[in-house]
Amino acid sequence: MAIDKNSTGYTFLFSIAMVVVVGTALAFTALSLKDRQDANAADKKMIDILGAIGVKADRSNASEIFAEYVVERIAIDLEGQQVSSTKEPVNPKDKTDPFSIDVKKDYRSSVKSAAKSADGDDAALMAALADEGLTFPLFQCVTDADQNLYVIPVVGSGLWGPIWGYVALEDDMKTIFGAKFDHKTETPGLGAEIRESFFTEKFKGKQLDVEGATLFSVLKGGAPTDEYSVDGITGGTITSKGVDEMMNRTLKVYLRYFQSETRAQR
């Protein structure tokens, strides 16, 4: 055949055909595997939430154990008003289920830039996010010892990328029962250490300074800590600051809920 393989026209046609074929193949793969991947992500989320209250689970039994310990799932808005709540079994496909609230996506799309410009000023942050219609999930759990615990998802930024975690509060709404953090791309050996137990253990039993200006602090390496702070990770200053920032920003929202009328009536 007399087609010039190196002509510009052929090159363009070849590229276009290639892109169409490859695009179709990838779209097909992604769509056909999506259900399984979503189920895996939901399992992972349950394992993490249970991890914050010190319950071990794996992928084979995550949903059963989750149903056993997490008694209620609540969604609240920025002002701390309860929007919805459910005690039904988790259905990851149900978008109105507080379990399905994608806090990471909310953070990426609106909270991140607002938090940056507000720079720790809670009133400014509230004003910036007022029209976003954000909701925040809260997981009420009961332990084997009949202790009421509240698990709060937190999302923030580390040095290289997103960091996130779950903080479990006790019934008094200010004692930290446990915490679990994770990250995507923090530096191994430095910022990445936030996921390790030596770091999360330090949060156990600490208090939130409900009356003070900052609820909780992750201090720079070696500074003396009190009941409202933990020692950050040496060499992981920016990641530690990220933990500090995401805890303060997020927990303030939940504090409004805990102190609000709806809460008092329960």
Partner: protein, 230 residues
């Protein structure tokens, strides 16, 4: 068109000819991609802490390698020369994305542990190297064999290194779907009052390099032809 069919029938007859067998066997030893050509060494060092990760990684590379080599070989007479590297890259990248998606769906825990290294198969020099050096100039049959040979050459080093590292570093062996099988009773460990302690150095990245170095040493003392003259 008719010459193509003739060529493919003759190719079938000679698929396991001496020359084609060499395609399969050579990369295992004489031209091993890792120990002789020193390609793809980054991932070999990074994911050999556990055998199960190495197995999954090897299978992923095998799939991408075979897919890439065969597809590029089939397209070799159609690919415009000026964009051939991009075309190879697109083929490899799509295969890697498929592997990544499948792992996320069926092996979520291992996918998490392998993290970026599945995506980095795209930049694995072995794959691009074989596409450019072999598949672009050879028929699909030999390309298929060449892919298997090179992927296996990569795989056996990975498996060997990870077995050494996991046995001495964790006192266990893990296989996909079976979890970790411990060799020693936990009462033997120092933390439980015993006398044995795992060698933590084996878990750290430098030991992968040293283990690969030892394999190269053994290989070269056995196969003197590989030793360069100064």
């Amino acid at each position: 068109m008719s010459t193509e069919t003739v060529a493919s029938t003759t190719k079938k007859e000679s698929l396991f000819s001496k020359k084609n067998r060499r395609l399969l066997v050579d990369p295992l030893d004489d031209s091993n991609p890792i120990t002789v050509q020193v390609l793809g060494i980054c991932s070999a060092l990074a994911i050999t802490v556990q055998l199960q990760q190495a197995v999954i990684m090897s299978l992923s590379v095998l799939f991408v390698m075979i897919g890439g080599n065969v597809i590029v070989s089939l397209l070799r007479n159609m690919i415009p020369d000026r964009i051939r590297i991009i075309v190879q890259l697109v083929v490899v990248a799509s295969l890697v994305i498929i592997v990544d998606q499948v792992l996320k769906a069926f092996q979520p825990d291992i996918s998490e542990k392998l993290s970026v290294f599945v995506g980095l198969i795209i930049t694995n020099c072995i794959i691009m190297g074989r596409l450019e050096a072999f598949a672009l100039a050879n028929k699909p049959g030999p390309s298929f064999l060449d892919a298997i040979g090179n992927a296996m050459g990569y795989a056996w080093i990975l498996l060997a290194v990870s077995v050494v590292r996991e046995v001495f570093g964790s006192g266990a062996i893990s296989l996909p779907g079976m979890g970790q099988i411990k060799f020693l009773p936990s009462s033997w460990f120092m933390s439980e009052g015993g006398f044995y302690e795992n060698n933590n150095l084996m878990i750290l990245p430098p030991m992968a390099l040293i283990t690969v170095g030892i394999i190269i040493w053994i290989q070269r003392s056995r196969n003197q032809a590989l030793i360069e003259e100064n």
